[in-house]
Amino acid sequence: MAQSSPSGAVGTPRLLLHALLFVAALIVLLPFVWIAAAAFKTQITLLMGNVLFDPVINNFREVLFGRTSTYTRSFFNSVMIASASTLLVMVIAFLAGYSLFRMRWPRWVVNVFLVWAIGFNLVPPVALAGAWYELFRGIGLTNRTIALSHTTLHLPMALWLLSSFFRDVPRELEEAATMDGAGFLALLWGIVMPVMLPGLVSTAILVFIFSWNEFPVALALTNSQTSTVPVAIAKFAQENEIKYTQMAAASVLSAIPALLALILGQRFIVKGLTAGAVK
């Protein structure tokens, strides 16, 4: 419809439509510009509300290297947790997806997993955080337990997304490979995975971003040693005297993965976000 209906804009000046979208884009963008600017201000220029100011990098220095700052540790924790849980989610969901959607299971088995994949979204993560807290209390709360929690949180979503991507793999390809005597792992690794790569990349990017952003479970299951980036940012807001400019600097640093994903993998993100709902 997009390209085929230029006549849809006849009568409605295209310039006006562009103007409307431009205003919407400004509304989306300005808050980000404002907080990025705040990150380069001193507390005084922020309080004065100056539009023009001499940028300082002191906030970033404090956040990254300050003696009392735990931000770098949280950043490291988040990188570890998001990477480990993404890897786990992808391996488990890919194997399960192949088994469920490509090998002969009774219909009800497949349905159990699909209902889980959708129904799981209804459960508030806070409720699960309580349940996991009781479970993990005995063995201690470490990076590993949070990575496991995040894996559990995002596994259903990954399975749901992959269920639509598995449909795009032509069966003839697998049959031909099996005829040639390829084993199970060789088939998955050499044939199915390359064909599904765009879908797998989309899913992995989303799982990573969601794990990076996840707050309530991390808040409930971490202590000062194991806190993730969102928990670290929340801490800024709870101190008696909020260091607004440092909070802004920490926020800018924490947005890096999202910005990277947007710049490098924009098409994959759109594919992932829409696959779950539209197909």
Binding site: M1, A2, S5, S7, G8, A9, G11, T12, R14, L17, L21, A24, A25, I27, V28, P31, F32, I35, A38, M48, L95, A96, S99, N121, L122, V123, P124, A127, G130, A131, W132, E134, L135, S149, T151, T152, L155, L159, F184, N213, F215, P216, P230, I233, A234, F236, A237, M247, A248, S251, S254, A255, A258, L262, Q266, I269, V270, L273, A277, V278
Partner: protein, 290 residues
């Protein structure tokens, strides 16, 4: 079928089953059992005291719980409706403009990917009474400054505004994908018959889009029900209970007050309520369709 493949079929599903059973089903079952107990701590050991339905009965008279449910429902209905309406408008604009709107599509992805807690931090600064950009603008126009997050009658609406800003792009994205997958032959035919763009929109595009609009609404409503991050940072549920949302209530009861049994009962009640709402909507929709 060779038997090696039969083994592979079971083996490759096993890890997923383990996660489903050990970290989803069992914890929720544990939560269910817990919700009938009162948990007290003494000397580092928990003791469970059977309380039957005491925790559940308490819910009805818990002001925090009632405020949490009410505010969450207001937020879900208002924010989701606005998000779908604005998102639909923007998606239609982009589909009319076609390829020249690509830059906007990219830009609109940004709020979806940024951590919710940062969204909260951004708006906490922008709403700030003394130096926030919104009050700067307000006083520039000559109006008195507004306490956006501190005034009980205003705080929930300020939170809803943030949620709309945060998630309208998501509705936009889903609806744009739906618009672009619509069959083009119907609209072509309408154009040949001389339909105006407005007629085309109201009589063809929108009716065809209804299923997608419903799905987007449901998707958004489910996510909105779990709202936590922004509220935690913006208002912490206050002032009073003005912005108390249900996820936040559970968090407070379970972790801050360390009342695990009662927090569990709240969680179970919430899961039940959400399932009920979904079930009612689904059956009503099915009835409408037949």
């Amino acid at each position: 079928m060779p038997s090696a493949n039969g083994v592979a079929k079971y083996l490759s599903l096993t890890p997923a089953v383990l996660f489903l059973v050990a970290l989803t089903v069992l914890p929720i079952a544990n939560l269910l059992v817990l919700s009938f107990h009162d948990v007290t701590w003494s000397g580092g050991r928990a003791s469970w005291q059977w309380e039957a339905a005491q925790n559940y009965l308490q819910l009805g008279s818990d002001r925090l719980f009632i405020a949490g449910i009410t505010n969450t429902l207001i937020l879900v209905v208002v924010a989701t409706t606005l998000q779908v309406a604005i998102g639909l408008g923007l998606a239609l604009l982009c589909s009319i403009l076609g390829r020249s709107s690509t830059i906007y599509r990219t830009l609109f992805l940004l709020p979806i990917l940024i951590p919710g807690i940062i969204i909260g931090a951004i708006w906490k600064l922008m709403y700030n009474f003394d130096f926030g950009i919104i009050n700067q603008f307000v006083s520039l126009v000559g109006l008195p400054r507004v306490d956006w997050l501190g005034a009980p009658s205003l705080a929930l609406w300020s939170v809803i505004a943030v949620d709309v800003w945060h998630w309208t792009p998501f509705s936009f994205l889903l609806l744009l994908a739906a618009i672009e997958s619509l069959p083009t032959d119907v609209t072509e035919a309408a154009k040949i018959d001389g339909a105006s763009p407005w007629q085309e929109l109201w009589t063809i595009t929108l009716p065809l889009l209804w299923p997608a609009i419903f799905v987007t609404f449901a998707f958004r409503a489910v996510i909105a029900f779990k709202v936590f991050d922004e509220v935690y940072l913006l208002t912490g549920g206050g002032p009073g209970t003005a912005t108390e949302v249900i996820s936040f209530t559970i968090y407070q009861r379970f972790f801050v007050q360390d009342d695990a049994g009662y927090g569990a009962a709240m969680s179970i009640a919430l899961i039940f309520v959400i399932s009920l709402i979904i079930a009612v909507n689904l059956t009503r929709r099915q009835r409408l369709e037949t």
